[in-house]
């Protein structure tokens, strides 16, 4: 059984412009000690999904359907008090901007110690010692001295380390990391990604890493989920995703990013951009939401909802090109063409 199993999760926001289906029927699982990448552009619902797993969706958002099973227990049915126990001790979360989650008037040591004391019975002194130990584990230099620093005295990278130390204070099994390196410089990003990977290995921590950066996913994740307008459009083992992207959106994303060649050749070719823009969630097209931008679109794409097709080998894709009847017809056409 998977550590975390999400089934048909729906989180909607009721706004003046209509209902925003930020997360619209999302199902996936997370295993112990794995790093699962979740990629998508702004508005794809990846951050709302993360908040939904923690049951921290701000109003007017509301989880309106589905199940979140942690070791078989549905978190959506727990009382607020029971959920508070789960947060931190079983599932913890870190965000893009640590400054907004740290309290500027307390030292970082006090804040880590508070996280510890919430879940473990520790004296003040024990909590301080444990906070220093937690800072050491996330490779903050000079933890004995840094423990008394205020958040503004630390760099962005150090603040993110403090957030990770707080998140891990109560030894959770799952860490949800929402764009944890997006606000950081690239040399600091490399340090944080390395830290997350070593924590995953040493603590057998399951990490859901949410990012818009395909490079980050390629270098850290074992499996990847791609979201578009509130839905999963593709799930795949990482090597398969980058070698053989199935969904036209995934394919388009991979083609549109300039790749570092480091090869010493002058590239004259143009980037292959995806045409159009991400649609507004209040004005989604019928059927496949990507169809208006898709180079392969056909009449069927907009006629009905497209399911996620299971292709075996851990690959799922939401595209009619992978419907067996469409594939069968293409085979026939290909045969008749070659005859």
């Amino acid at each position: 059984m998977a550590l975390l199993e999400i089934e048909g999760l729906k989180t909607y926001f009721t706004t003046r412009e209509g209902v925003v289906r930020a997360v619209d029927g999302v199902s996936f699982h997370l295993d112990e000690g794995e790093l699962l990448g979740l990629v998508g552009e702004s508005g794809c619902g990846k951050s709302v999904l993360a908040l939904s797993l923690m049951r921290l969706v701000p109003p007017p958002g509301e989880i309106v359907g589905g199940r979140v099973l942690l070791a078989g227990r549905n978190l959506l049915e727990l009382s607020e008090e029971e959920m508070r126990q789960i947060r931190g001790s079983r599932i913890a979360m870190i965000f893009q901007d640590p400054m907004t989650s740290l309290n500027p008037v307390y030292t970082v040591g006090e804040q880590i110690a508070e996280a510890l004391r919430l879940h473990r019975k520790l004296s003040r002194r024990e909590a301080r010692e444990a906070a220093i130990e937690a800072m050491r584990e996330v490779a903050i230099p000079d933890p004995d001295r840094r423990v008394d620093d205020y958040p503004h005295q630390l760099s962005g990278g150090m603040r993110q380390r403090v957030m990770i130390a707080m998140a891990l204070a109560c030894d959770p099994q799952i860490l949800i990391a929402d764009e944890p390196t997006t606000a950081l410089d690239v040399t600091i990003q490399a340090q944080i990604l390395e830290l997350l990977d070593s924590l995953r290995r040493t603590r057998n921590l399951a990490i859901l890493l949410i990012t818009h950066d395909l490079g980050v996913v390629a270098e850290t994740a074992e499996r990847v989920i791609v979201m578009y307008t509130g839905r999963i459009v593709e799930e795949s083992p990482v090597e398969e995703l980058f070698a053989h992207p199935k969904h036209p959106y995934t394919e388009g994303l991979l083609r549109s990013v300039p790749k570092l060649t480091l090869a010493g050749v002058r590239k004259a070719e143009r980037l292959q951009a995806i045409e159009g823009n991400v649609p507004k969630l209040t004005r989604l097209p019928p059927g496949c939401h990507f169809a208006p931008r898709c180079p392969y679109r056909m009449a069927r794409c907009t006629e009905s909802e497209i399911p996620l097709y299971e292709l075996g080998g851990g690959v799922r894709v939401r595209c009619v090109l992978y419907d067996s009847t469409v594939i069968a017809r293409a085979d026939v056409e290909e045969k008749s063409a070659t005859r």
Partner: protein, 338 residues
């Protein structure tokens, strides 16, 4: 232009459009008499029709450098020659006239557009400021510019919030083009855009460069984008250029330890390509109190005791490839260029 002055990228290598020598911008801090050395003695040329990329992390001075070039920020000292004229000696009227030739595109197209102004008026604003054309001529020019950047002129009476991020950046580009500039400083022009939209804007910038013979100073922390768009690239660290070369040379043969670490830190969207990663120790220091000698030495995996004593300057170690590091073979005997 004749063939002899052209390189393969179409840039005229004979006379630079922009010549910068010893540019310095220090911001005094109110407290303690400290000084932020945002740009600290930088020299380079930008040739006509080329794209010079500037890469570096936050606080390296790349944005300040771009703004100094347009005199949106007054440099502390140094020399900037634009199209043969000494930019820093111009009187305000002369400067205003010359500003027609140089424009800037900002990172956040929403913050740089006025939310209460119709798109038509934003794009026409530079024309109005320079009192060019009648009202109907300006309107026709706005429609033409919108078509050039891939926007439907029927939308010219709308407000910025009615456009997506990518479309707003196109509006910013249309406004920058309004006066037929020679130079465009593009300061992180795609960093705020969604991945799938970035490519559209990059392609647009390349098309416009070809059509209008534009010269770009392209500032970004995104090394892959810079490699794609630039003819030459300068790497900045703490207010200094530490390495500069043609793009393909810099990315295939990086010489400065900082450039090498930076390139190795970029995650590449290809899980089969496993690379040796150089993880730098420590944080990016602030430009308030840069270390003595080489500014990178405290994070440098190759630093020697001598690095604390010599402040290395750019030297040309192979044709067109300059670097500021005493550890680079051939550096000590190479010609100093700044």
């Amino acid at each position: 232009m004749n063939d002899s002055g052209m390189n393969e990228a179409g840039a005229d290598q004979t006379t630079p459009l922009v010549r910068v020598r010893g540019l310095v911008k220090h911001f005094p801090l109110e407290a303690d008499g400290l000084v932020v050395r945002a740009v600290d003695d930088v020299s380079f040329d930008i040739f006509r029709g080329e794209t010079l990329g500037i890469v570096g992390e936050s606080g390296c001075g790349k944005s300040t450098l771009g703004r100094c070039l347009l005199r949106l920020i007054e440099p502390t000292r140094g020399e900037i020659t634009f199209d043969g004229r000494d930019l820093l000696k111009l009187k305000s009227g002369e400067l205003r006239a010359l500003r027609r030739d140089m424009q800037i595109i900002f990172q956040d197209p929403y913050a740089s557009l006025d939310p209460r102004m119709r798109v038509r008026d934003q794009i026409a604003e530079p024309l109005a400021i320079h009192r060019l054309g009648t009202k109907s001529e300006r309107r026709a020019r706005v429609a033409e510019l919108m078509r050039k950047v891939g926007l439907d002129p029927d939308y010219m009476d709308r407000y910025p919030h009615e456009f997506s991020g990518g479309q707003r950046q196109r509006i910013g580009i249309a406004r920058a083009l309004a006066l037929n500039p020679k130079l465009i400083v593009a300061d992180e022009p795609v960093s705020a855009l969604d991945v799938s939209v970035q490519a559209q804007v990059i392609n647009l910038l390349e098309d416009l460069q070809e059509e209008f013979g534009l010269t770009y100073l392209f500032i970004s922390h995104g090394l892959a984008v810079v490699e794609h768009i630039s003819d030459r690239v300068a790497v900045m660290y703490l207010g200094r250029i530490v390495e500069m070369a043609r793009a393909e040379e810099l990315y295939s043969r990086p010489l400065h330890p900082y450039t090498r670490a930076l390139l190795s830190a970029i995650p590449i969207p290809d899980p089969r390509r496993k690379r040796e990663r150089i993880i730098l120790r420590g944080d990016v220091p602030t430009p308030i109190n840069p270390p003595s000698g080489c500014r990178f030495r405290q994070r440098c995996p190759e630093a020697l005791p001598e690095c604390a004593e010599t402040d290395p300057r750019l030297r040309e170690v192979s044709p067109g490839h300059t670097v500021a590091c005493i550890r680079v073979p051939g550096w000590s005997s190479a010609r100093q260029v700044e």
